[in-house]
Symmetry: C2
Subunit: 496 residues, 2 copies
Amino acid sequence: MLELKHLPVSSFNENIAYIHRDCPVYKIDNIKTMTRIEIHGGAAPVYAFLQIVDSSKIIRPDELGLNTEAFRQIGLPEGSRVSLTLTPPAPSLASVRRKIAGNILSPKEYEDIVADISARRYSNMDIASFLVAAGSFITPNELLSLTEALRGDRIIDWGSEEIVADHHCLGEIPGNKADLIVTAIVAAYGLPMPKTVSRSLSGCTGAADTMEILAGTDLDVRSLKKQVLEKRGAIVNPEGLDIAAADKIISAVEQQNGLATLERSIASVLASKMAAGITHLLIDIPVGPRARVRSTQEAMRLRKLIEYVGDMMEINVDVVITDGSEPIGFGLGAALEARDVMKVLKNKEDAPDDLKEKSLFLAGRILEFDPKLRGGQGYVVARELLKSGKALDAMEQIIKSQGKVKEQVRLGHLTRDVVADVDGTVKKIDNAFMTRLCVLCGGGQYPGAGVDLFKKTGDQVTAGDILYRIYSCNQNDFAFAGTVLESGKSGFEIGK
Amino acid sequence: MLELKHLPVSSFNENIAYIHRDCPVYKIDNIKTMTRIEIHGGAAPVYAFLQIVDSSKIIRPDELGLNTEAFRQIGLPEGSRVSLTLTPPAPSLASVRRKIAGNILSPKEYEDIVADISARRYSNMDIASFLVAAGSFITPNELLSLTEALRGDRIIDWGSEEIVADHHCLGEIPGNKADLIVTAIVAAYGLPMPKTVSRSLSGCTGAADTMEILAGTDLDVRSLKKQVLEKRGAIVNPEGLDIAAADKIISAVEQQNGLATLERSIASVLASKMAAGITHLLIDIPVGPRARVRSTQEAMRLRKLIEYVGDMMEINVDVVITDGSEPIGFGLGAALEARDVMKVLKNKEDAPDDLKEKSLFLAGRILEFDPKLRGGQGYVVARELLKSGKALDAMEQIIKSQGKVKEQVRLGHLTRDVVADVDGTVKKIDNAFMTRLCVLCGGGQYPGAGVDLFKKTGDQVTAGDILYRIYSCNQNDFAFAGTVLESGKSGFEIGK
């Protein structure tokens, strides 16, 4: 038996166990590679990957150290007596190897893979291997199996509600935070919408980051249910909800290496929305030459896939294909996006029109999930709810209920203006370039960082006009953003 | 600036940097995921992945901790002043993503990927992603590019030697340690053979593990050259040779998750042998229903690939396809294999005949690289060198020169006999089963662990006869091996 010790190290996603090289319980001499262990003593065995420590100041020979992730999972106080056994690689890794070799996996194999990922028996390396293997070739039935496995059995129950709606945009478009406005409109109408929003993945800002400019997003299932049943809407980060655990682990790996394929995203979205108890889901696929989905043909293929999986799992899905050719709204980055969202909800004159129109279109489609609304009425009702201020009221109630943020986030103190070098009209804005710029200037990490667009496609510009302003919160990020601009590119195409 | 501290933690392969959450130099609040940093202060920047520490007992806020791997690489004493900057993901990861999407990469892209891996800018997760992506689809020209990149520019120079020979078996067959006998015969003939041998990868024992039962295998380039030029042979672990650095890093990842594809193995073998200055290479592809290569057709495909890459890179390759249907020799596991090898070299009556014949065949093919030998003479000369004891002399000189091991390894103290349950003839022995058994009983980690075969295919058995004996060095491994046997399977097929 060894004495449990918390080694307060955050390793992001992996459970790590530390043992001393002279550990009397397990002879370490022969460990030449990453070794998997099983720790006994808690309610259930905890799996971890072993690292060897050569100093008793960190771990004594009679101690077993766990990093923060593993210590939290084992749920025992320091000093508890635990034992360890070596454990063979997770059995389902054989299925991952079969997938790598180009085979089609069975529903049971996906179930086992997902169960082993939930139990943290996969290293990040194993998860990445699975993602790449399944990403390069997956059949519709495999995608169904993966989605079912990721959803799991823990599903939020909304009682007698017949429609519980949500919306997801597949393939982030910079600046697009229609989600928040849509939720406010749908809630104002009275349909329950427990909108789950993620943090920034590959893009510059997740809707969770933007919402956190306005209110807290960490609700547990109990408070989420209470709020949605009373206020009809919520905008929450699903991290705190005890659902779709494996999906969260996989997403964290995708976040670390930018490997998310569209197929995996479909499985992830459908699984997590279904685990949240959603009955009606609107999926928006923006298409553009520099968007995640680049052709209508590809978008149609994805739509069929989503419809197939959705139908088989008995969730109502409506898939819309929209224009994703340029950023939506003016601001990219949490604080700037939150500003745009509130301008639309407050019917301000300088509110970005494209964000408003997109929000109304999407909200209209969701309202039409209600059988009482006639075809085409959704948009009209949505516009009325926005114009009358009822959507703003709904958002204010959501903010109040989730806990208004006390301190206003300030924009980054390091700024740089990028100006037009010729006269003309803005012909194109490169989504991928703007996303990259926004990530590098700190948009993914600092809420006050981002890019504020002064011009959009179709606008007239004169040489010297500001195209956009970059905000960074530290010198490092500011310098990264600078390197992208040194190439002379601005991401804007200006023509006659 | 931060103060450098060595955190003596072995993390296997990855550079890890530890900073305190209150580090004044870099604000940590916003780090939600694995972050890549660049550490300045040493001869060259060192890349590492950041982990966050919440206790000043481990790392003070003004310190930067490096794990053993990174500390070794930076080459500075503790207390040195270093600075850190965040670094964007390695630029070549864009190529990995292109490969995942099914594209063909250019030679320059492979070069950049390999350079970034050498510089430790890839996490294990990134390397695994690359392996899976390149493993599922790679063209012959891409394989050539990968091999050239892995070989690198640091090539051991053998001066005026016209032939420098080596041999590699693609797809481990349990028990097969012909490599050691072949080296002794070729050295006895007088052709220089700096045999590089690896540690156990997916199999039960690498030839390096077996050789270490007899002698040290860690030579630097200087001692390797001296020994081969004088004694004509060496059997060394390339870990200590400063060549093909990226290949070693990639192999370590493959070792951790068993992802090695045959294509990657070809690139790895050709690259590392060429970096070792080999001019003539014999590659053996054993084929069997439970071997790594399962059909002659597949072996032929690999042969063409090897010949193509070998020809383009101007190394003489001879590829032979051999019988890989059952284990070779009696012992599986380092100590038992070393016993078999020495029995063959000593012409003992109870030496395993299949190991002897395979060694003579391979050695004969290598000897025929010598233009002075007529076709077919190689085998005869090899047999004579073995029979006369000259090969044994050569091996003893190699052992003496590399440093004879003082203490004899004892076989594991935990043993279990597996017996025949019927009378009959051994029809088949399942390679994959025996490998798995040998891995689980500790063969990959403990030199004294392994499986000793008492019967081979074609032998008569009576119910109750011992088929094989398992040796384990600890209770854990012994129990793992037991679980495989509980299914009632023995890996032997006995028929009439």
